[in-house]
Symmetry: C2
Subunit: 317 residues, 2 copies
């Protein structure tokens, strides 16, 4: 879960020399920050350093990251004509830097731990693209979903096609598992998630080559657990709101679960981190469990706290 | 749910002459916008026009509403010494304008519909006060909750004491029911909500005079339904994420339910609003149900759509 990042001094040193987008697009640096958490924290997998919104830029949407402001699309997509202007990218030409990062990270990891590739879900990418920026309520997106669901589905399908090209490219380059992040699916009631967010997500999951584990994360999706249990994916990643024992029951016990330590717990004492980790391990014990945070690590996390969590989870401390 | 507001031209005309805080503090105007939705939409109750954060200002925290920015506390409360500086206000002196608004609105309503008073939950007020502004993740608040839960509970208790004075004053002035808004309780897993948010909330609910219906709204609280079912309150207000039939089952069937039309549905067509309203009515049919939105009305809502929802719910159209 966003292992690399602002909490690592080694990352900040690199960021002093470059912008976020430049870092994503410079494979030797992106590979270096991809591998940092493995070297510094001892985690058991790496996830490629990239951003879910890069694909939309490759589809022709202008993307800006402004300091303190988060991502912005100055020309949001809100009409059928806007959708028509999005292209299906030649991912090798437009996103080859991600594939190069993956190849470089694989070389640097040299078989120590597996490397995970990733993408945003079509619903989540559409959320940013339609709204033009992050939001807490995404009124333009949701208004479109009520006023013209077929038009919005056309956008979602177009994003799904491009995503599938992009993820196949990541796998060809060496990604050994794929995680899909549905950051904003939790805005929808289950009935609407099934109708709006699910079809394009399933198209991606079903289109991936066999043998590559598929991980799906839906943030704030505790009301969606029953329907998530039926997704064509091997692993469901669960945020911190629901205990893994309940998540296992409500997803039908068919999936490996990933999660679900509250990232804020890493801001407490080492003793509290030990207790929380023990609780998550115990709640996850009813089936396959990949220990992880329930959401991205916070920038103010002390490195020694992140390291303590990893050590407790591995049972080496 | 925030009935009055920016979507009403009658409200915007008043706001052209005054700031948001001045409007809250001018009883004749605040009473006018309190009654507007009854006259314009035909709703079956009014809710006093005020803001949950006014109480914190009365406790000594400087509060600013800046255009486009939402509320801000320039001096956030983050230490025991900060908590000590908060005072238990003389609510008559500090918040008498709210009580005057209630008296004026009761006169203007003249028995047509009941008037609801309200407050924020201590957890939600603390969220804004500790963070200093709205946030999507509230890292300062949650870090405090892990590092020093007893210190944070002292803040919550202090807010609860003041809230109880404030709500008793609203009831004395003529409020006929009380709604408590827990906007940020959904950030917490149930175990943590019970430990952190629940005790101060229960103290308020149990301290209110008998005979005044108590309504509790927890936004994004679908993972909390089982524990919410045990609250000392007559009504639970449910956001749009979970069908009322499921909410009724998971809260134990002991409460009246309020909600839960998705506010974004009011941005669609009149036919879609009719369908959504019919669905909510049908899902709520297993027990007492107060038809309402699942969250505040959006500023871009067409007035005729809000009016159509009210008419469909009342069965007059």
């Amino acid at each position: 879960m966003r292992q690399a990042g602002r909490y690592l001094p080694e990352y900040r040193r690199i960021r002093e020399r470059t912008t976020f987008l430049e870092l994503c697009k410079t494979p030797e640096l992106a590979a270096e920050v991809t591998v940092q958490p493995v070297d510094i924290l001892g985690v058991d997998a790496a996830i490629v350093f990239a951003d879910i919104l890069l694909l939309l830029e490759a589809m022709g949407a202008e993307l800006r990251f402004e300091a303190g402001d988060g991502p912005r699309f100055p020309a949001p997509v809100r009409t059928a004509a806007d959708v028509d202007r999005l292209r299906r990218p030649d991912v090798e030409a437009a996103l080859g830097y991600v594939f190069s990062t993956i190849r470089a990270a694989r070389r640097s990891l040299d078989g120590r731990v597996p490397l995970i590739g990733f993408a945003g879900s079509p619903w989540t990418l559409a959320a940013y693209l339609v709204e033009g920026a992050a939001s807490t309520s995404f009124p333009h997106l949701l208004a479109w979903s009520y006023a013209d669901p077929a038009g919005l589905r056309r956008l979602l399908d177009r994003i799904a096609d491009a995503t599938l090209d992009y993820l196949r490219g990541q796998i060809d380059a060496g990604a050994q598992a794929i995680q899909i992040f549905d950051t904003w699916g939790g805005l929808l009631a289950a009935r609407r998630w099934d109708a709006l967010a699910r079809p394009s997500l399933e198209r991606i999951l079903e289109g991936l080559p066999a043998g590559v584990p598929r991980i799906v994360y839906v943030r704030d999706g505790s009301h969606l657990l029953e329907t998530l249990g039926g997704l064509p994916a091997e692993v469901l990643s669960i945020d911190w709101r629901v205990p893994l024992s309940e998540a296992r029951r409500r997803t039908g016990g068919r999936k490996a679960l990933q999660g679900n330590l509250d990232p804020c717990a890493l801001l407490g004492s080492i003793a509290a981190i030990r207790d929380e980790t023990a609780r998550v391990l115990s709640e996850g014990a009813g089936g396959p469990h990949i220990v992880n945070l329930g959401h991205g690590i916070l920038p103010q996390t002390p490195v020694e706290n992140a390291r303590a969590f990893v050590a407790f989870a591995q049972g080496v401390s």
